[in-house]
Point group: C2
Chain length 210, copies 2
């Protein structure tokens, strides 16, 4: 175990930067939450995930995701360029190592959006990260959200809902749970913000070494 770091603010120094992992079932609104946090200009470094899935309307390459071809993604796997990767619903998603290194070097808090399986991997690699589980208020809300998105077929929506109920069990491995209620995005964002502020005030803050 690494020696505990006393909060540097006690010595008039800036707080320790955190690694904050935001996860949750598919369709729960991880992207909306992060988009809102970026709109509000929260001072953090956002880790951009690489994906082989097609770009959705309104998404920006290099901002929302790094959109790459299947061939390029498989090359990144072979070249060991990914901290973590998975093939979910037939699409690759992964965290480029270069992204995380840049983020950690920035001195700002680092936010990482990842699916539930990916979060388990990050927990093994960086147990000192702050793990936040974004949960839907109900299965009905999750269904509505996936339906409105119109990017999945009805069969795929049912598959994701079944998966979501399994993923909900994983909440026990997270530090915090934030409910993302329909039409109350800012409440969820405010709670995430509070968690980040609170974690910085720990007498012994969690310091990630990656």
């Amino acid at each position: 175990m690494s020696p505990l770091l006393r909060n540097p603010q006690l010595d008039g120094k800036p707080p320790v930067p955190l690694l904050v992992v935001i996860s949750g079932p598919s369709g729960v609104g991880k992207d909306s939450v992060l988009m809102r946090m970026r709109e509000l200009a929260f001072p953090f470094h956002f880790v951009v995930t690489a994906t082989s899935r097609p770009i959705r309307p309104g998404e920006i390459d290099g901002y929302d995701y790094h959109f790459v071809s299947v061939e390029r993604f498989e090359q990144m796997i072979r070249d060991d360029e990914l901290l973590e990767w998975a093939k979910v619903y037939g699409q690759y998603k992964g965290i480029p190592k270069s992204e995380v290194r840049q983020a950690m070097a920035s001195g700002r808090d680092v936010l990482l959006r990842i699916n539930v399986d990916g979060a388990a991997t990050i927990k093994r690699l960086a147990p000192e990260a702050v793990f936040i589980f974004l949960a839907p208020a109900s299965t009905e809300e999750l269904r509505r959200r996936l339906t409105v998105r119109r990017t999945e077929s009805p069969e795929e929506i049912e598959r994701r809902l079944a998966m979501a109920s399994q993923e909900m069990e994983q909440v026990q491995h997270f530090d915090y749970v934030v409910i993302n209620r329909e039409d109350r995005l800012d409440e969820a964002v405010g709670q995430i913000r509070a968690i980040i502020i609170a974690e910085k005030q720990r007498v012994f803050p969690r310091q990630v070494r990656l």
Copy 2:
């Protein structure tokens, strides 16, 4: 060990009420912070301490403290009416049991302001409480604060400063530290608010049984 309670918000229920202990050296501004939190109408139940010290200008009996005579306080000790008490700087201070019971029954978060020794006692009685240490930005600020207050003699101020540097060592037994910087009261209050919000989002919230 009590069984862990899964966050009731996951089942659409209201969050668990917290017991929040705010402590720190004499003169650090515990009273100012709490006064500001009450002004901002934070929805919490505030535990009013009983004290034998004289009322200061602007203070209200039953709101800031229960101001009682030395005789009455000693009667409360004999009748076992106090959860915790101490004689500090020649004055009695203590937490009436009736106050805490009322507070816990209210269903709201309970805030308790107490000196550093008292916090140690509460930690033995209620380890699941949230312990926040309010710290000065520097010894100079603490000296200025005690001087401006004009309620202590120069000798007493020096005595309190010496005591404060000992009390600062106790920060390691607390969960969080909040620096109360001169002219930045709302920053400290905002951090305390964030801590309370974050603690409610824990997957397994801390549930106090007193």
